[in-house]
């Protein structure tokens, strides 16, 4: 029943995208509610009083927060399902968690500095982001997905940031496609999955959004 699962979300959020993808992979019906982050709903504040952030998954009235925690919850709560998001082997599971954690630590904050700043700060961030992409490409190697043949946690963690690629390339003047061809092929492969293409907005729409956000950020200073 759709009323059992509610997702408090915000369309351009890469973290929200992760949860949308996981829910779609599992074929779970849910009610998506769009939050206005400048005017957070009482429900959001009640369901995530500590961080007051989206995404929040509400399952049978109980909230789960933090995107990767939600994704693992979805995998575990709907485990009698065709599409496991984590491997069954404990060592491979630890490996998947390691890379999901790496992505969480590096991509959002560094990427934000790349599209959000200029000059020296931007240059430094660009180098850091390049290094992260290098590391990820190395880990991906010749595999179809980060987990091998199975689309899984690490892919879910990273693919939302594909929607940032056009913005990153344009604002920081470099070509991710040229420098990281394997990563871009992987991303395009993921985007062929309905769960991903229905959850990750178009790069140009995100570009407009991020540029608008950048203007607002700078006008506050």
């Amino acid at each position: 029943m759709a009323d059992e699962v509610v997702l408090l979300d915000f369309w351009p959020s890469p973290f929200g995208m992760r949860v949308r993808i996981a829910l779609a992979e599992k074929g779970i019906d849910y009610e998506g509610r769009e939050e206005d982050l400048s005017n957070k709903s009482p429900l959001l504040l009640k369901m995530n009083p500590v961080n007051k952030q989206i995404p929040v998954l509400i399952h049978k009235g109980r909230p789960i927060s933090e995107s990767l925690i939600i994704v693992q919850y979805i995998d575990e709560a709907w485990s009698n399902n065709k599409s496991p998001l984590l491997p069954s082997d404990p060592y491979q599971r630890a490996n998947a968690r390691f890379w999901a954690d790496y992505i969480d630590k590096k991509i959002y904050s560094t990427g934000r500095l790349v599209w959000g700043t200029t000059g020296e700060v931007q240059e430094k961030a660009k180098e850091e982001l390049r290094e992260s992409f290098r590391v990820l490409e190395k880990e991906l190697a010749e595999k179809t997905y980060f987990g091998g043949d199975m689309f899984g946690l690490v892919d879910v963690a990273l693919i939302p940031f594909y929607s940032w690629f056009y913005t990153l390339e344009t604002t920081a003047n470099f070509s991710i496609t040229e420098e990281f061809p394997r990563l871009v092929s992987w991303a395009k492969r993921c985007m062929q999955r309905d769960s991903v293409s229905n959850s990750v907005p178009d790069q140009y729409k995100i570009y407009d959004f991020l540029l608008d956000l950048k203007k607002k950020m700078h006008s506050i200073e």
Binding site: P49, V50, H59, R62, I64, S65, E66, I69, I70, Q72, Y73, E76, A77, P90, Y91, R93, A94, R97, F98, D101, Y102, V135
Partner: protein, 229 residues
């Protein structure tokens, strides 16, 4: 005999988490004390991405990141379980484990406040106390009825927070100040007392003077490095 090796720093809260977990499970392992100023080639090979401790090596295969290691151990050796069985309880536990990382980031600056002015010191302390308050007030796992975050027995949340509060206590000793004030944080205070008294924890809690001494040393080394640049 399991082929287990732990590369760590005896004083690191992250290493402590793994030590406590291994001891709780009754697992024998080879402890390899790393020197943060001269990391072993093996460590750099096992954790090329972050080059950090702790790293658990099981049958020659490395596992990195303290709480990922703890979950790995718990999955292979289910005695004295640390990860809740129910998916929802598990998600709640993971949320608070993730929160403990925020606490760590807020506590680290306390290493260096000895030379800060009062205003700056206050700011750092306030930041830590805000996080502690959230745990004290918002964490439903912290119950007046229960001894631990895990209920009657410690679980991953106790391990995660236990290591961070131990680190905070070291900072209190280092700076001769009180952050985890009993009047402001009665539940947390009482929980930490219970935690410290769990026999495995008690036997594996580094000495307070030694902790203070090592932090002073790390602080001095860092300042030496900064002034020489």
């Amino acid at each position: 005999m399991e082929d287990l090796k732990l590369h760590g720093f005896w004083y690191s809260p992250f290493t402590m988490r793994v030590v406590w977990t291994l001891k709780l499970k009754g697992l024998a392992y080879e402890n390899i004390e790393e020197d943060r100023y001269n990391k072993s080639p093996q460590l750099l090979e096992y954790n090329p991405v972050h080059k950090k401790t702790p790293v658990l090596v099981h049958g020659g295969k490395p596992i990195c990141e303290s709480m990922i290691i703890v979950q790995y151990i718990d999955e292979l050796w289910p005695q004295n379980p640390l990860v809740p069985h129910d998916p929802y309880d598990r998600a709640q536990a993971r949320f608070w484990v993730a929160y403990s990382e925020q606490l760590f980031s807020a506590v680290v600056p306390l290493i260096y406040v000895d030379i800060a002015d009062d205003e700056e010191k206050e700011k750092v302390i306030e930041k830590v106390q805000k996080l502690l308050k959230d745990i004290e007030d918002q964490c439903v796992l912290l119950d007046d009825e229960k001894k631990f975050f895990g209920g009657d027995n410690i679980n991953i949340v106790d391990i995660a927070f236990g290591s961070m509060i131990k680190f905070l206590v070291t900072m209190e000793d280092l700076n001769k100040l009180k952050v985890l004030e009993v009047e402001k944080f009665p539940r947390l205070h009482s929980w930490f007392d219970n935690f410290k008294n769990v026999s495995i924890i008690k036997e594996n809690l580094p000495n307070r003077e030694k902790m203070c001494a090592i932090m002073k040393y790390i602080r001095e080394r860092k300042r030496e490095l900064q002034s020489s640049n």
